[in-house]
């Protein structure tokens, strides 16, 4: 549905300063998918999205929607944003304050590229508003809406002309925490019920994990890993991703034993030699980073985790509600461990912990 190939964009801000905001980004989105660009602030997500919308002109690369190029540095073609038939929800919502709720939603039908009769406008706007549960407010001046209502209005306005693609730039970031949590689930249901292809931009991992079919993690203008939410969480192939999504203990190490074609390797780390699983093909002697998530460290020995046993003393604990966040000192190194609050031993006591091989992920440094 959407294909982005080798997209690059450099900003030339004041004077001679330049900033490579998007660096050879490629991805494709299948029809009906919710595709998420996730990354820290300033990594180039908005810029990528604005390139797809046509609000920025990329320096290089190609963007195809439904197989036809809308922007290409190869054939030098360019379709202006108003002709791309893309619905977009802006971070500020960009609700026109001088129009009513109804007028806001009717705008794309009235002045957009497709001519729609006024009877049709009436029915389609009403339908769109009822899909976002705003039909009872349609005559209200748009500024008189709450944050959540404005967000849904922006959404209705974006999909009312039935665009091929919906673009959402941090649509939840202007809502308060409670509402954001509700809208996370509701937004995915809404997009799915309309059956639209969507690109979603966020810097909140929890939003990305809940909302997406596919996540692309971005850093410094590049996509560093792409995969399903489960994949990204469980099998990060990159130290940045391991640390950005959830928490990780990251240990630098050298591969001491590796067999070609085999995932299982042994890595020498400051905590000792660990039996790990490689996320990429690595040879003995290679430098790797081993990622261990705190919740995968166990205090009970089992058939699966007996391979990696680590002895240490409990240095500090902090209660975080559903668990105890502990710091274990192993060979002078700190290992973060999540324990059951009731089963946490007193501070200072010696503890032996176990991590199964498949939870010690080794990735190229």
């Amino acid at each position: 549905m959407i294909d982005v190939k080798d997209l690059s964009l450099t900003y030339h801000s004041s004077g001679r300063q330049t900033h490579l905001a998007v660096d050879k980004v490629s991805f494709s989105v299948q029809k009906g998918q919710v595709y998420t660009l996730l990354g820290p602030s300033g990594c180039g997500k908005t810029t990528t999205l604005r390139c797809v919308a046509g609000l920025e002109k990329p320096d290089a690369g190609e963007i195809l929607i439904d197989g036809s190029p809308v922007s290409s540095s190869v054939t030098n073609s360019w379709v202006p944003p108003s002709q791309r038939a893309i619905g977009m929800v802006f971070q500020s919502y960009a609700i026109w304050p001088h129009m009513s709720v109804f007028e806001n939603v009717a705008f794309p039908l009235r002045y957009g590229p497709f001519k729609v009769s006024s009877a049709d406008i009436q029915t389609r706007v009403t339908r769109a508003l009822s899909q976002v549960q705003l039909d009872h407010l349609k005559d209200r001046p748009a500024p008189h809406l709450s944050g959540g209502q404005q967000q849904r209005l922006a959404l209705a306005r974006a999909f009312v002309m039935e665009p091929k693609v919906l673009l959402l730039d941090e649509p939840l970031s202007n809502l308060d925490a409670k509402l954001r949590e509700e809208m996370r689930v509701e937004l995915r249901q809404l997009i799915k019920s309309i059956g639209m292809t969507a690109i979603f931009v966020t810097h909140e991992q929890i939003e990305a994990l809940t909302l997406s079919d596919v996540i692309a993690v971005m850093n410094n203008g590049k996509i560093v890993q792409e995969g399903t939410p489960l994949d990204i969480y469980q099998r990060p192939t990159n130290p940045f991703v391991a640390n950005f999504i959830g928490q990780s203990n990251l240990l630098n190490g050298d591969v001491v034993e590796a067999t070609a074609g085999q995932r299982a390797i042994r890595v020498k780390t400051p905590l000792g030699t660990l039996a790990c699983e490689a996320t990429q093909e690595v040879a003995a002697g290679a430098k790797v980073v081993v990622s261990i998530r705190p919740e995968h460290v166990e205090i009970e020995k089992s058939a699966e985790n007996q391979g990696n046993a680590l002895q240490g003393t409990l240095a500090s604990t902090s209660f975080i509600g559903n668990a105890m966040d502990c710091a274990l000192r192993v060979d002078g190194q700190i290992l973060k461990v999540l324990m059951h609050a009731e089963r946490t031993p007193p501070i200072g006591s010696p503890v032996t912990v176990y991590v199964s091989n498949r939870h010690c992920l080794a990735m190229r440094a």
């Binding site: 801000s13 004041s14 919308a53 609000l55 920025e56 202006p80 944003p81 108003s82 002709q83 791309r84 038939a85 893309i86 619905g87 977009m88 802006f90 971070q91 500020s92 960009a94 026109w96 304050p97 001088h98 705008f107 794309p108 002045y111 957009g112 590229p113 497709f114 500024p143 922006a154 306005r157 974006a158 002309m161 202007n174």
Partner: protein, 584 residues
């Protein structure tokens, strides 16, 4: 319970002991200047009802002056003229200023910094200079364009007549276009660009977006700019004086001057004060509307605080047209009138360019200037150019400090008072000061006929601008910076001198230079208040002009403009330093 009560009592320190001496000095400045500012309209109001000699105890109160003014067909004609003149001014200045603002803020027009500079500096060119230029260009009899057209087309009537309401509005509008530009550019800059972008994503074509989204959103801001320009036009003096006076076309300001210093007989304060009261009421109504529009305009502004930078429209092949439009503006409003003034100053009597004319060129007008008067005017102007900005800024700092930093109850009232000179036409303040000097100060301090009366009215006239500048900068200076200085034991005076003033520094220098330049060319306020003994340079130009010394007036105008050049360069340099990093 009892503990609470004693605590409350303990906090009630008497006013005088809560503040140190320098704070009290600032309160003093603010109180006395506010009293003065309020006194001027009140005096006008009082005298407009007073019949007979105002200080004569036998005088009575009645509506006589109002009845006289509003039943006088000539005064009525003046009002109509003024309305037509200000409306033309408004239309002309917006039709140049608004497109310029849009081009600068929303397109990729090259050379924007130059445009900004030219616009700002263009604002400094005195109205009497361009008015002279246009009079020489399009006077029905001697006007250069008319003469050329007459001989080319064999007509026996003039094609253009600048000595008309429309003609004067055209000239005033051209000189106020920079105001329209600066105000509407601010409107475009403050608008959230995603409001336009989302319309674009809806598939709407450019002209629909402009009509349905950009203009409706910018409308309150544009209208507010329009009201402001209308008010300036209403009270404008330079252009109607230079172009209209000798042809007996009067507007509000010029009519006022004829009432206050008629060629024959005594000053007519009665009708002048009655008409002024009417104008104050009108201005009050307009500023109330202006205030409402401003709040509405603010509602539409970017609220997210993200560093949005709008995507700029690619002008492409229209770039050339845009620059042609801008070039046409600068030619019409600045360059051509100035060249004509130079031409006029070098000829014994005005005539279209020709070989004979060139052969006649002479420095006679420069040599025959009444140099004694000119040097006297230069002395007075120089003193005022230094004193006005200095005193105004000291007062403005005091106002900002009281309004923003002190805990004085009702302090926002002073902000309103500082805004009054912006809302009420300056010429009305001039009349107020005049009456104040004549009837209140006469026994106390005879300031009438001295430059001090000019200093007072200039300071009052510039106070609004100065407090807007000091307010907006002081808001940006975090209170902590001052409070930490206070905590280290510094007195209010020390905090102002050592912390606030240095932080305000660049703004103060910038505002000082601007006020100095405006003072240098100020004619309106000076005309009302000058006598033989306190003439400023622009008044000398004016007196030469009314005495039909057109060539001499043109020559002195040129000398005045040349003297402004160094300060303008300094101002430009400071403005560039200040905007460095602000990316403009």
């Amino acid at each position: 319970m009892t503990a609470d009560v004693t605590l409350q009592r303990a906090i009630k320190i008497p006013f005088m002991r809560r503040y140190d001496p320098s704070a009290l000095v600032m309160f003093g400045i603010v109180f006395s200047l506010s009293l003065l500012i309020i006194a001027f309209p009140i005096i006008i109001f009082w005298l407009s009802f007073r019949v007979g000699r105002p200080i004569d105890p036998a005088a009575t109160y009645s509506f006589a002056h109002y009845i006289k003014v509003f039943s006088d067909p000539f005064a009525f004609k003046v009002l109509l003229n003024t309305l037509g003149f200000s409306l033309t001014t408004l239309v002309v200045s917006l039709s140049f200023g608004l497109p310029c603002a849009w081009l600068v803020e929303r397109t990729n027009l090259p050379g924007k910094p130059i445009l900004y500079t030219l616009m700002t500096i263009g604002l400094l060119l005195p109205g009497f200079a361009t008015a002279m230029g246009w009079l020489f260009l399009m006077h029905p009899r001697i006007g250069l364009v008319n003469a050329v057209l007459k001989s080319l087309l064999g007509l026996d009537f003039p094609v253009f007549n600048i000595t008309s309401i429309i003609g004067m509005g055209w000239v005033e509008g051209l000189s106020l276009a920079p105001v329209a530009f600066i105000m509407t550019a601010a409107v475009f800059r403050a608008m959230d660009p995603s409001l336009e972008e989302s319309a674009e994503m809806s598939g709407a074509p450019f002209h629909t977006i402009a009509r349905r989204v950009t203009l409706p959103l910018a409308w309150p801001g544009i209208l507010a700019a329009g009201i402001y320009i209308f008010t300036i036009g209403f009270a404008a003096f330079d252009v109607p004086a230079i172009i209209g006076w000798s042809n007996r076309i009067f507007t509000f300001s010029t009519y006022m001057v004829t009432q206050l210093s008629p060629d024959d007989g005594l000053p007519q304060y009665g009708p002048a004060t009655a008409l002024s009261t009417f104008v104050i009421a009108l201005a009050g109504g307009l500023s109330w509307w202006y205030g409402r529009l401003q709040t509405r305009a603010h509602r539409y502004q970017v609220v997210t605080g993200k560093g949005y930078r709008p995507r700029l429209l690619e002008l492409g092949k229209y770039k050339l047209w845009a620059w042609l439009f801008l070039a046409a503006y600068f030619l019409l409003s600045k360059l051509i009138p100035l060249l004509i003034v130079i031409w006029a100053s070098l000829l014994p009597y005005f005539q279209p360019p020709s070989a004979e004319a060139i052969a006649m060129m002479t420095l006679k007008h420069f040599n025959s200037l009444p140099w004694g008067l000119v040097l006297e005017g230069l002395k007075n102007t120089t003193i005022l150019v230094f004193l006005t900005p200095t005193v105004t800024l000291i007062c403005a700092i005091a106002f900002s400090w009281v309004v923003l930093r002190s805990k004085l109850p009702g302090r926002s009232l002073f902000d309103f008072v500082a805004f009054l000179p912006h809302a009420i036409p300056n010429i009305v303040f001039g009349i107020g000061v005049l009456l104040f000097a004549l009837y209140v100060m006469r026994g106390v301090a005879p300031i009438f006929g001295t430059i001090w009366i000019l200093l007072i009215v200039f300071v009052v006239g510039r106070l609004s601008y100065a407090t807007r500048m000091t307010n907006s900068t002081m808001i940006q200076i975090h209170k902590d910076l001052e409070e930490s200085a206070q905590m280290s034991g510094a007195s209010t005076g020390t905090v102002i001198r050592r912390v606030v003033a240095p932080l305000l520094g660049p703004t103060l220098i910038y505002a000082w230079l601007w006020i100095a330049l405006i003072t240098f060319r100020e004619l309106t306020l000076a005309v009302i208040l000058t006598t033989r003994d306190n003439m400023t340079l622009p008044v000398v130009v004016w007196s030469l002009w009314v005495a039909s010394g057109f060539g001499q007036a043109a020559a002195l105008t040129l000398i005045l403009l040349v003297m402004m050049i160094p300060i303008v360069c300094l101002y430009w340099w400071v403005a560039r330093k200040m905007s460095f990093g602000a990316n403009r």
